[in-house]
């Protein structure tokens, strides 16, 4: 019943929005293959910036650090967050618990950053990758818990009782019934947690400490952007974008299978 011109206008607007969203990304991707590295002159197709990237020890170290931090905080938060989700879904909903779990996701990240820095300093804790892991786990636990809870809400509780009725212990029931059924949700939550940690900047920046060995990937990118734009950043950007797209497609696949 929409009159056609309005439909056309709306769709054109949507198209423009897509252009707006994707042009900056495409520009970076194209530039990363530009020999001159400058946005204004195209001197030819080249992958030399990627080569320079591969040979840049600082960037490689930062990427490695981010991987370590992401894996560690994902492991911690997936485990704790899943247990937390199960605990929260058992029994009556508690608005205070809901608020507590929502807090790390809502609080502005700079506030969380200064809070954690203050906390670690007060404890005289040595800062480094380990402190970043602990910091990232805070919001990751909240995200994991939220994702797994959604999965648990659709969980038919009677299959747990059925398993017990058929003679299984609580542990066996968890291992053979509960876990497999919520597994897709847990994996999706873990993926989310991993992505959030890899991309996180400000909390890592504040809690990494002064040491050279605790620079994460986003911290390195920030430094490079802030203190002198080099064309290698375009190559980094393209790789990061490619990776994230892959991860999203992966989690979409998982979601569709689970549905």
């Amino acid at each position: 019943m929409r009159t056609d011109p309005i439909r056309l206008w709306l769709n054109a607007h949507l198209g423009l929005v897509y252009v707006f969203l994707y042009v900056p990304i495409l520009v970076l991707i194209v530039l990363s293959f530009n020999k001159s590295g400058l946005p204004t002159t195209w001197t030819g197709f080249s992958t030399e910036w990627y080569g320079k990237l591969a040979g840049n020890p600082k960037i490689l170290a930062a990427a490695g650090n981010s991987l370590i931090v992401a894996v560690a905080s994902t492991l911690i938060s997936t485990f704790i967050g899943t247990l937390l989700a199960m605990g929260m879904e058992e029994g009556k909903p508690n608005p205070y618990l809901d608020a507590l779990v929502a807090a790390p996701m809502i609080i502005p990240d700079i506030v969380l950053a200064i809070a954690l820095l203050s906390f670690y300093t007060l404890l005289n804790m040595s800062l480094g990758l380990q402190s970043i892991v602990l910091s990232h786990a805070v919001f990751n636990i909240a995200f994991v818990c939220t994702v797994v809870r959604t999965r648990l809400k659709n969980f038919d509780r009677s299959i747990v009782e059925a398993s017990i009725d058929l003679g299984a212990s609580e542990v066996t029931t968890f291992r053979r019934v509960t876990l497999p059924v919520i597994a897709p949700g847990v994996v999706a939550a873990a993926l989310l947690s991993f992505t959030l940690s890899i991309d996180e900047f400000i909390i890592a920046y504040f809690t990494a400490g002064a040491g050279q060995g605790s620079t994460t990937f986003p911290m390195q990118i920030y430094a490079m952007i802030r203190f002198g734009v080099t064309p290698e950043i375009n190559a980094i950007a393209t790789i990061v974008i490619g990776f994230s797209f892959l991860l999203v497609l992966l989690s979409q696949r998982l979601n569709r299978e689970a549905a």
Partner: protein
């Protein structure tokens, strides 16, 4: 000789201020098909869960084959439950579901396979062994759930509202299948249901519950013909109620006279619609009334007869072949009668 198998002794279960089951005792016999019937909230599901081991009673004991199982955990009881939602494991195949309980007993290899095949054949689901529950219809899921429980050869099989989710035709079919399964396996079945038709069809004996207590425990026929209370009379099937006073040889109703009734006392007369005889000729001793409405139900005709002096119409059920069945018209004068011994006297 009937041997008692499951004894529920004085079970009480409270949830906060609410007493769901109130000092309830009953006995289920070996090889019996037993029904626990009642409206929602009467405590039947709670009782079932106490027997299965998912609720701990506040008072009372559960004794199975002579052994007190009250303290026994649910996964150790030789009792299995068929869940209302079937509760099939969505990530396992049909065969996997059926095998699960046996695996918990340590059954492996060839014997495991044999027993699973046997169970699937029993419920006629052998062709579906590899399917996942998500690919099955409601009736098929139920059969798998049955197989999964029966394969463990429990002493008692508990069924929670087994036929509620099925459509009419399927329900009638499953009723017959369930009855056959029970008789063939010889295992005592205890069905919990709110559907009195289901209970009447399936059970050898029925316990009627109201608010946590047994109102009447009887065979279906006895419960139907001789309800002992207004609640029982009203809950099972359709029933006509007339208020008045029993006087030993009949039932006196104000402004109408004496209606046929058995000997005894009571202030309420109950008579089943199919026991009410309808005639378009005046008869002595018959009550006069007018047809208020008639409904054609296929094999029966239900007639509502307004009787002056009575608050509600008397319902009469005529077989389709009855002489009057095709000729009932609104406002038509009819006469109702019944045999004294087919009415029941109750206290109001």
């Amino acid at each position: 000789m009937t041997r008692s198998l499951l004894e529920i002794q004085g079970i009480t279960k409270r949830f906060g201020p609410v007493t769901a089951v109130d000092k309830l005792s009953l006995t289920v016999n070996d090889g019996e098909f037993f029904a626990i019937l009642g409206p929602s909230g009467c405590g039947k599901t709670t009782l079932l869960r106490v027997v299965a081991g998912f609720e701990t009673p506040d008072e009372g004991r559960v004794v199975l084959a002579g052994a007190d199982i009250t303290e026994l955990k649910a996964n150790r009881r030789p009792v299995n439950l068929m869940f209302q939602s079937y509760a099939l494991f969505p990530h396992m195949s049909v065969a996997g579901n059926v095998a699960y309980g046996l695996e918990m007993e340590g059954v492996r290899g060839a014997e495991l396979g044999r027993r699973v095949d046997e169970a699937l054949a029993l419920v006629r689901m052998s062709d579906y062994a590899r399917r996942k529950p998500g690919q099955l219809s409601g009736g098929q899921k139920q059969r798998v759930a049955l197989a999964r429980a029966l394969v463990k050869r429990p002493k008692v099989l508990l069924l929670d509202e087994p036929l509620g989710a099925l459509d009419r035709k399927l329900r009638e079919q499953m009723q017959i299948e369930l009855k056959k399964l029970q008789q063939d396996s010889g295992i005592a079945f205890v069905v919990v249901t709110h559907d009195q038709e289901e209970a009447l069809t399936l059970a050898d004996r029925i316990a009627l519950l109201d608010r946590g207590r047994i109102v009447q425990l009887d065979t279906p026929r006895a419960l139907y013909d001789r309800p002992a209370s207004r609640f029982a009379a009203d809950f099972i099937g359709l029933m006509n109620f007339v208020e008045g006073t029993a006087n030993g040889t009949g039932f006196t109703v104000k402004n109408i006279g004496t209606l046929p009734a058995p000997a005894g006392s009571g202030s309420l007369l109950a008579i089943r619609p199919e026991r009410v005889r309808l005639s378009d000729q005046a008869e002595s001793g018959a009550i006069a009334g007018q047809i208020e409405g008639a409904a054609f139900l296929g094999q029966d005709v239900i007639a509502h007869v307004a009787v002056p002096g009575l608050e509600r119409p008397i319902i009469a059920r005529l077989a389709a072949g009855h002489a009057l069945a095709a000729r009932l018209a609104r406002g038509q004068n009819v006469w109702l009668s019944w045999q004294a011994d087919q009415a029941v006297l109750l206290q109001d």
